[in-house]
């Protein structure tokens, strides 16, 4: 597998909303390429007619009774927020 390009690294970082320095991008190009090359060994496996496993449990939908129960109070829910205003999480403007 060819080495990841700088553009590919930047595209993935964009998807992950992850800020990276130029140095980090270069290092990740190297390291991710090496790891992916190693991981490509799974392509040797014949997986025709093999179901993908998403969970090890024999469960499908788990329902609970539709009953109310106490939850966090407003103060508890907001206690770790970086910014609060009028009992709400304060965020930056997203619409002008």
């Amino acid at each position: 597998m060819p080495k990841l390009s700088l553009q590919e690294v930047e595209y993935i970082a964009q998807l992950a909303r992850l800020g990276l320095s130029d140095e980090e991008k270069e290092l990740l190009r190297e390291q991710l390429s090496a790891i992916l090359e190693y991981a490509a060994v799974i392509n040797q496996l014949d997986t025709h007619n093999v179901e993908p496993m998403t969970s090890v449990l024999p469960l499908c939908n788990v329902m609970r009774p539709d009953a109310t129960a106490p939850g966090l109070t407003l103060d508890e829910a907001l206690c770790n927020a970086p910014a609060v205003q009028d009992d709400q999480f304060r965020v930056q403007v997203i619409l002008e």
């Binding site: 690294v9 993935i12 970082a13 998807l15 992950a16 909303r17 992850l18 800020g19 990276l20 320095s21 980090e24 990740l28 390291q31 991710l32 090496a34 790891i35 992916l36 190693y38 991981a39 490509a40 060994v41 799974i42 392509n43 496996l45 997986t47 093999v50 179901e51 993908p52 496993m53 998403t54 969970s55 090890v56 449990l57 469960l59 788990v62 609970r64 966090l72 508890e76 829910a77 206690c79 770790n80 927020a81 970086p82 910014a83 999480f89 965020v91 930056q92 403007v93 997203i94």
Partner: protein, 495 residues
């Protein structure tokens, strides 16, 4: 008894002394806090020590005893890995992004330990968001291995393992996504149990790989592991993936030591490969011989997809992690580094809040899930995971448990694998498969190589904890490896 002796009591012996009134929870807790104060400057096992709260819990435990009450862990001082939420006590996950996060609720396991009467000493160090095998990826500091302070304790539950090995906690909780309980237990010479996926509630465990994560216990002997598992196991309405299966009395089952006669122990040939350190292999072979001498039948089995375990694991775990860690956006909790607009705030917050291993895994996982690569990496890995599971199902039709080394080598030097992520990942080669197949496993001390502990791993079928504990206990009854203590510098203890 002096402080050191008190701190090396096993939980079951301490409970006996507490019940007879020969020891108070306050004395015991005080002894642990003194030892932590003396040693943790060398070990760095704890991120947060909750001395005042612990003494208050101990006082209450003694009060309850004075009123004739008892509880399964009443007055027992334990440590909690810092990825498990504790109400009112900072829970950092070893990350800058949660450096000041104080959960408004307790994880279910913490609720259960409190109900059982445990005293909580503090929160132990971990690789950031449990991503690592050495604690070197903690944002705060690296924990030292009590057997050699220049070496890693393993990870990610390295703080819990080091604390238990050094007598700085009587037992501890960890979490295991790809070996994070068993590997540090092996490297520090203690017992580490990873229960079946779904056996223990994950509510309040900060998520890494949701289809793999499971809370486990670290203790100095198998009896203590059974006591802790009994306290935390069972269905929890807050975790839809927790299993609605009855919880056996693990202690009683374990104590029915019927010996090892007739027990079928599978020895997977793929776990005895080139690359395993000779000292590790010989210690594990000797453990197998001890079990055979006690009547066990050793049967060679094959888990043919073993070599695919690491790539399958690192594709699935990172994919799940990249999705789980999307929540750290600086809005509801954690660090926020404000930029000119909301988008820049996201990028800056995550750039400064996450360390290099977490960034690497978010990138890898995002790549594996991205359009064009999903089928080749993520979906392919999920299919390969099915094949791996079939290996285990086939082998466990023939045998009761599987036995192998927990790790291919002993504790490595701090810094040795830090710049080579692939080498670091390969140290998990014998532990990741068990998480992928969702079954249970335990690591028990089985000797030393170059003066460093070696772990024997036993792996069992879904909900097979009782048989694992019974076999591990029978092994421990016939060996003394779990009784050795690390040679910690005496001057640190004040002479």
């Amino acid at each position: 008894m002096n402080t050191t002796e008190l701190c090396y009591l096993s939980i079951h012996v301490a409970l006996d002394l507490l019940r007879r009134g020969a020891l108070s929870a306050r004395e015991l807790t005080q002894a642990y806090l003194e030892r932590i104060a003396a040693l943790d400057g060398l070990l760095h096992a704890y991120i947060t020590v909750t001395a005042e709260e612990a003494l208050e819990q101990a006082r209450r435990a003694d009060e309850r005893r004075a009123h004739g009450e008892d509880a399964p862990l009443l007055g027992i001082p334990l440590a909690i890995k810092d990825v498990i939420c504790t109400r009112g006590v900072r829970t950092t996950c070893g990350s800058r992004i949660l450096e000041n996060f104080v959960p408004p609720y307790d994880a279910t396991v913490v609720v259960r330990l409190r109900q059982a009467g445990a005293v909580l000493l503090g929160k132990t160090n971990t690789d950031e968001f449990t991503m690592g095998s050495s604690t070197e990826h903690s944002a705060f500091f690296t924990t030292a291995n009590p057997w050699d302070l220049e070496r890693v304790p393993g990870g990610s539950s390295g703080g819990s393992a080091a604390a238990v090995a050094a007598g700085c906690a009587m037992g501890a909780l960890g979490s295991d996504t790809g070996g994070s309980v068993r590997q540090p237990a092996a490297l520090c010479g203690v017992v580490g149990l990873k229960p079946t996926y779904g056996r223990v509630s994950r509510y309040g465990l900060v998520a890494h790989g949701s289809s793999l994560d499971q809370i486990g216990v670290l203790t100095r002997d198998v009896h203590d592991a059974a006591l802790l598992l009994r306290a935390i196991a069972g269905r929890d309405p807050h975790d839809a993936t927790s299993l609605d299966a009855p919880v056996p009395d693990y202690v009683q089952e374990m104590l029915q030591d019927t010996g090892l006669r007739g027990v079928k122990v599978g020895v997977p040939r793929e776990y005895f490969i080139a690359g395993i350190e000779p000292g590790v292999e010989s210690a594990v072979r000797e453990a197998l011989r001890v079990m055979e001498e006690a009547g066990a039948n050793l049967i060679e089995v094959s888990l043919p997809h073993t070599q695919y375990g690491i790539p399958i694991y690192y594709l699935i775990a990172t994919a799940e992690a990249s999705s789980n860690l999307a929540r750290y956006d600086g809005v509801r909790y954690g660090l926020r580094v404000e930029g000119t607009d909301m988008w820049q705030t996201f990028f800056r917050t995550r750039a400064l809040g996450f360390g290099r291993e977490v960034k690497r895994r978010i990138m890898l996982g995002t790549y594996a899930l991205s359009a064009g690569y999903y089928d080749a990496y993520y979906l392919k890995a999920q299919k390969a995971r099915t094949l791996l599971r079939q290996d285990f199902e086939r082998a466990l039709q023939r045998v009761d448990v599987l036995a192998c080394p927990t790790t291919p080598g002993v504790a490595f030097r701090i810094g040795q694998k830090l710049d080579d992520p692939l080498q670091m990942y390969l140290s998990d080669v014998f532990t990741v498969s068990l998480n992928l197949v969702g079954m249970c496993g335990i690591s028990v001390p089985c000797g030393f190589a170059d003066g460093l502990p070696v772990g024997l791993q036993l792996m069992g079928p879904p909900l097979g904890e009782a048989i694992l504990l019974r076999i591990a206990h029978a092994y421990q009854q016939r060996t003394e490896w779990h009784t050795y203590r690390p040679p910690l510098p005496i001057q640190a203890l004040g002479g």
